[in-house]
Each structure stands twice: as C-alpha cells, then as structure tokens.
C-alpha cells in the first residue's frame, strides 16, 4: 500500500473462497430483503461483528441447510439472526434445520405478531424480537447474547 506521493508496491495476498472470510465473532443474518439485510449488517459491523447476509431460500432453490450438505456459514457462525418471515412454511423449515443441525448456535428470531403452536414450539430457547425490530434492537439482542466484541484491526488497516 502506498500513500499519496509515495510508490511502494506490495503484492496482494491470494485468498481462496471460503464461506467465512473473517474472524470471530461472526453473525449470520438471514433476511430476505436486500436493503433491510444490509442495514442490519451495517449496524452489526459498526458494533464489531463480522457479518454474512443470506436472503434465504426464495429465488435460490432449496436452502442447503435442509439438504444433505448443510450450510457452512450457519455451522461456523457464533449467532444467527433469523428474519425470514416465519408465517411461511419454507422459512420454518430453515429455522427447524437450524435448531436441529446447529443446536449450539444462539438464534435471534424476528417473530410475526401471531404465533401458532408449531412456531411457539420452534421458538423455545430462541431470543425473540418483534418482526419490525430495528437494527439497533437487533444489535442490542446480539450483544446481550454474545457480549461486546473486542476491537481488533485487520492487518494493514
């Protein structure tokens, strides 16, 4: 890297594609709306968390988490923010898979206003938030479960 006026060349490091390219703590945000997902991700980043945003199954075929391969970003996450809209069965399948396949990963779930018995059972042990929760509320919930992350600058930053 070189600053204005200097000219020192540095070779870039080749990074192989990996599901998580950043260190812990990592938060996976499952959110179908791109702008909403980015807003939550931004709030979490500024709170010190590495983030990944997944729009969930719609438009992307079956969620790998419910398939045989599983989902590396979910398995390797320290916490998952679930906001896929759990009125829909396809979203509940993902939540069910998260509960059974990643039992140690804490979940923050944005729940709809009306919760039926099936969903109530699924939500046991999850941290619940209203479906219209703001990014700040989500950050508060994440910090409550994971604790505030230690500030660490990436090398060269």
């Amino acid at each position: 890297m070189f600053s204005a006026g200097s000219a020192t060349h540095e070779h870039a490091v080749h990074l192989s594609p990996q599901p998580w390219r950043w260190g812990h703590p990592r938060v996976l945000v499952e959110y179908p709306d791109e702008a909403g997902g980015l807003a939550i991700a931004s709030a979490l980043r500024f709170a010190g968390y590495a983030v990944s945003v997944c729009p969930g199954p719609p438009g992307r075929g079956q969620c790998p988490l419910v398939g045989p391969d599983g989902c590396a970003p979910a398995h390797d996450a320290d916490l998952v923010v679930c906001g896929l809209g759990y009125e829909r069965e396809v979203a509940r399948e993902v939540l069910r898979a998260l509960r059974t396949r990643c039992p140690d990963v804490p979940l923050v779930v944005a729940v709809p206003s009306e919760v039926d018995d099936d969903l109530r059972e699924l939500l046991q042990g999850c941290h619940e938030l209203p479906s219209q929760a703001s990014p700040e509320q989500i950050v508060d919930a994440v910090q409550g479960l994971l604790g505030p992350p230690a500030q660490e600058r990436p090398s060269g930053a």
Binding site: M1, S3, A4, G5, H14, L15, R21, S42, A50, A157
Partner: protein, 391 residues
Amino acid sequence: MRSPFQSEPEAFRSVLAVLLALLAIVLAAVLGPAWLALAVLAVMLVGLVIRATQLRIRKQRLDRPLKSAPPHVGSAADRRVLVVANDTLGELALLGEVERLASVPHTHVLMLAPALVSSGARLTGAVDGPVDQARVRLAAVLDRVGQGLDIAGDISEAEPLQAVEDAFATFAPDEVIVCTRRKRTRSGLEPRLAALVRERFAVPVRHLVFDPGLGAREPDRETEARYRREFDDLFARKSTLVTLAGVGILASLVMSMAALVRSGESASPQPVVSQAAATAPVSAVIALKIIPSSKPGPDGKVHDAFTKTEFAVSVGRPVQLRIDNTDSQPHSITAPEAGVNITAMPGIHTYTMLVTTPGRFQWFCVYPCDSEANGWAMRHAGYMSGYITAS
C-alpha cells in the same frame, strides 16, 4: 484462470504432469500401433476436460454469492471508503469525487487499482506490464489529490474481484465505489464488477460509470442487469467457441485413429484374395517359393523370381497357394482382369486363389523388386510375372 506456475510446488507438479503425459504418449507410439498414441492423447484430453469441469463446478459452489463483511474498524464516526478504478483513474470527475469523499471528517479513502492482466498473461505470469501501468496511473492521481486528505493507494496483480476481497481483509471498507467505463473494453475494468462486488460483500456498493466528457453517472438496476447479461453472453460465446474447438480436436483425433486402424488392416496379410473361395471346396494345393536374385536371365544377370509362374486353374474352383517368400519384403501375384491380388508376406503362408472368369490372364508383382536390374523381372514372365489360365 490461475496460472499453474504461480508457486514452485505448482510449477513442479505441472511440469511433472506434462512430462508423464508425454512419456505415456511416446511409450504408446513406440510399443503399440500408431493409433494407440492418438488414443492415449484423446483419453488425456477428455480427462483434462472432465477435471476442468469439476474444478469449475467446485469453484462455482464455493463462489455461491453470500454477502459478507468484516467488522468496522475505528470509532463509530470513522468511515472507510474503497474506490476501485484503473482505466478511469485519469478522469477529472473521479478525482473530484474522491476529494469530496475524503474532505468529510473521519473519512479514509483507499484507491485500489487492480492490474488489468489478460487471462493469457496471467497464465504465463507476464503481469509486470499491467502492474506498472496501474502503478503509473495511480501515482499520477495521488500526486494530484489535495494535500491533507486521507487518501491512500494500492495496486494488485490479482483479478479485480480477488483484489477487492484482499482489500476487505486489509482495509475493511464501509463502502465500495467501483469505477468503470460504460462499455466493456479490453484494457478496462468489467462494468459488471460492481454487481459482483455487491453480490459478495455486505456493504453499500456504488457504481460510477464514466463517459468521456460526460462525467460520472450511477447506472440504474436495469443497466446493471444489462452489463451482467452482456458479460454472460460474451462468456457463453467464448465457451461455445472453446467447446467447438475441443470437439473439433477430438473429432480429428478420432478420425485419425480410425484412418490409422483402417490402414493397418489393409497392410496386414491377405490370405484370402477371392472372397468366394470361402465357400467353394479347394481343388488343389500348389507350393512355390519367391527367391531374390536366383534365376539367370538372357542378359546374363540373376533376377528375382517365383519358382512357379504358370497357374492352371478351374473356373470357380479355389486353389491353395503355399508360398514361401524368402525375401524380406512382400511380393504379390496380381492379375486385375482375373480378380486376383495375393500379397505374399515374408515367410511361409497359405493363400487362396479363385478365378471366376475363363481366360488367360497375365499376372505380375506390384511391389518394387529386382532393383539391381531396374525391375526387369517384374515385366518378364517366368520371373516376377507369369500367367493364370482359367478353364
């Protein structure tokens, strides 16, 4: 495509693989029939295509877009902006935008110039030229930006998307601005780079498109989608061409193999000349020899000769010829009008002669022989020529 010579172990493995492949082809050519080498080459090409397809599928699976980003670095007020540009670095509008961004308090700007390396140059490692070009362009911009602003620069020889990923690891931007031309050029960043960055990183991504004289504009989503389609079309056309070339190479290999197999078959001994002989009973067995330089001629020299040159056969009745060719090369009894063409290979072999038309037919040897007398024996009955009488 990554160069297979990027590191010493990769280069060693690549050279070893090429040497082993060449060895296998040479061994096949030396030890087997000629077509075997082509077959080995074809199998290797097919294997290479399958492996390349596997790697591409694996890469696509690993590259499945999932937006991610590292934690923000610095205080909550700090803002880190990554500007990705190369061929547009000289644009005044870009300079103005960078200065505007950097003039906001607590804003840090990193200008990243990925070297525009072609696939071929990347494969061979000849990246110095594009890297130097990026360095010169970036240095010129950094010299012009206002003093006191927090603007740094970096160049990378990696592919542009990889370079952005590297910058995320070292700079942790909160926003990315990708600067391209409206149309894709050979020496410019891909206009669809912005969409790829947006697909992979969970930060706001702006795309600035520069038209000479028109300044910078941000394309709408439809235009972004068109950039993507244009690239996909180009990629599809390239893939079709590569596939067609591959199919052409394989087809020519298969056709060459078939031609070699067929020529091998026609060069092999032909014990049966007249196919009808297979069903008719043999009327006689005649033994004869072919002896080079054995029979004196009227010119006082000794000539190549068959020990028997007159054959009397019954029409439609096969005759077996037990020929002892003592020469090291093949000879023949060829009488086109009688439908006879027996190639006598060196050694003792039995052949069948069948004539279906009555008459007296001259035969001759079609292989060059009696070379010391300029082929004299090939033109004279009683030597390497004679008659077949069918009645």
